[in-house]
């Protein structure tokens, strides 16, 4: 059976509607959302209410958490002080706009969702703020999946969709200075695991303008990245009308969102 996984909706209603329509056209009814329903975009309440109405199981993203608990990421999350200032402005704007009911909804979202061999998180099993980048250290990536006791880890947060398979791994160990005195050696075989990043519906950072999500077949284990066109002009106009920074609209329209990624995205904010 096919399941769709969406992430990082970022209050972009036209993009969310287009992606849900694309999912519906494929006959898929099993949808999981990896959070970040709000932030940057102009329709936070509308997006939350759409997800709630459709009863889509959703994890809490870093923006969802920050809007409820206050900013807890340090400036390492942004590539520049200007970008940080814009991000903080969007945070405050979103906090002011959200209804109490929708804030409660975000506050009560689970950190992760587990379905059989699949684990769904926003950033990583360790933190909503940790980026699992496609080319990060392969052993560290495998550790994230294995220690979460999953076979497939679905994540978002990077806004870059990818499927990564980690296979044929082993680690050899030698115990020195052991009691008894004999040196002990052994080789441990590592399991095959996959990380699937769903990309972003509302704020893609893959260098293009299309919304992205993934479809996973739990029988064949096949995963496909889907790209969906939506009415970007409509979202851009809503950003300007809402008084959000115009650069948010410019980035969406030109597919320049990737420029907003932190210089060291692998850094995990400890704050």
């Amino acid at each position: 059976m096919n399941q769709a996984v969406i992430s990082c909706l970022h209050a972009n209603l036209p993009a969310v509607e287009a992606v849900l329509k694309d999912i519906e056209l494929q006959g898929i009814t099993n949808i999981t959302c990896l959070g970040d329903l709000v932030g940057y975009g102009p329709q936070p309440n509308e997006v939350i209410e759409l997800i709630r109405d459709k009863e889509i199981p959703t994890c809490q993203g870093c923006w969802d958490e920050d809007v409820v608990d206050g900013l807890d990421a340090c400036d390492c999350s942004y590539p520049s002080q200007l970008a940080e200032k814009r991000g903080h402005f969007a945070h405050q704007w979103t906090t002011d706009k959200l209804t109490t009911e929708n804030k409660d909804y975000l506050a009560n979202l689970p950190y992760s969702i587990r379905k059989d061999k699949c684990l769904f998180v926003h950033g990583s099993p360790n933190s909503q703020h940790e980026y699992l980048l496609p080319d990060m250290d392969a052993f560290a990536a495998l550790e994230r999946v294995e220690n979460a006791r999953a076979e497939i880890l679905f994540c978002g947060h990077t806004h870059q969709p990818y499927i990564r398979e980690l296979a044929d791994g082993s680690i050899a160990v030698k115990i020195k200075n052991s009691v008894p005195k004999d040196t002990q050696e052994k080789e441990i075989q590592l399991p095959m695991r996959r990380i699937v990043n769903a990309g972003s519906v509302g704020e893609p950072r893959h260098g293009g303008t299309k919304a992205t999500y993934v479809v996973h077949n739990d029988v064949t284990n096949e995963v496909k990245i889907r790209e969906v066109e939506y009415d970007i002009e409509l979202t851009c106009k809503a950003i300007i009308d809402a008084g959000l920074p115009p650069i948010f609209a410019w980035r969406l329209k030109n597919g320049f969102e990737f420029a907003e990624q932190a210089e060291d995205a692998s850094h995990v904010c400890e704050r």
């Binding site: 080319d135 220690n147 870059q160 296979a167 082993s170 680690i171 160990v173 115990i175 020195k176 200075n177």
Partner: protein
């Protein structure tokens, strides 16, 4: 001159053991640097004399380089140095009496010094920490999955990780590792084979059990304060 590190932890206020280790190290050949990897304090005995000695070494003492450990974290939590959090894990696991014993064992005048201690040191390509690079309370042992050990090494970007939290003494080498990675994204597919260079995790022990590390030869020697060291370890000879 041979460069050696003496790695100590879990003194928990025991000045007698610290003095015994200092005495041992004075007889140890080489240029010794003394690292104290946390748990200088604990709830069992008054820790003030040890803390005073660590902060104000005697003229013939080796200068101790200290980091904070799990017990220091608990007293900082309980004393309001970590915001609104309190030492709830300690309270739940050991009870209110132990929390009180801990706060009574350390004079408040030492708290600022404890709060200024670092999480760990990175010396050469070695990480010196109390628990792990993930958490001061994490136990790394011989039974910890190698993938986890490798991750904790990678987080600090070091080749050797010295840890104290488990109280165990061990030297585990990750001699070889390989994993194949295949990434598919909107730009296509790419494959990569990643290998691991030799790395190691070393448990340094606690209390009277401490570790000597020869920086030049990468040899460890597990020592009990006040006893002659074992002969079987290559690289040091008799002490």
């Amino acid at each position: 001159m041979i460069e050696r590190w003496a790695l100590v932890s879990g003194l928990k206020g025991d000045l007698d053991t610290y003095e015994l280790i200092q005495k041992d190290l004075k007889k140890t050949p080489g240029n010794i640097t003394l690292f104290v990897l946390g748990d200088m304090i604990g709830p069992e005995k008054n820790c003030n004399r040890l803390l005073h000695r660590l902060i104000n070494p005697k003229s013939n003492d080796l200068q101790p380089w200290c980091i904070y450990g799990w017990w220091e974290e608990q007293i900082l939590l309980e004393s309001g140095y970590r915001g609104d959090q309190r030492a709830e894990a300690l309270r739940i696991n050991k009870g209110e009496e132990v929390v009180k014993s801990l706060t009574n064992a350390v004079d408040k005048s030492f708290l600022d010094w404890i709060a200024a201690l670092q999480f760990g040191f990175v010396e050469l390509d070695c990480g010196l920490i109390h628990g792990s690079s993930k958490d001061v309370g994490e136990n790394l042992t011989l039974d910890t999955p190698p993938l986890t050990l490798l991750d904790r090494l990678t987080r600090l970007q070091v080749n050797r990780l010295f840890t104290a939290r488990s109280k165990q003494q061990f030297h585990l080498e990750l001699t070889e590792g390989i994993v194949n990675s295949e990434v598919e994204d909107l730009n296509g597919n790419r494959k990569k084979e990643q290998k691991v260079p030799q790395k190691a995790v070393i448990g340094i022990g606690a209390g009277k059990n401490y570790t000597l590390y020869d920086v030049g030869t990468d040899n460890t020697q597990f020592v009990q304060a006040g006893y002659k060291t074992e002969k079987r370890i290559k690289g040091f000879g008799r002490l």
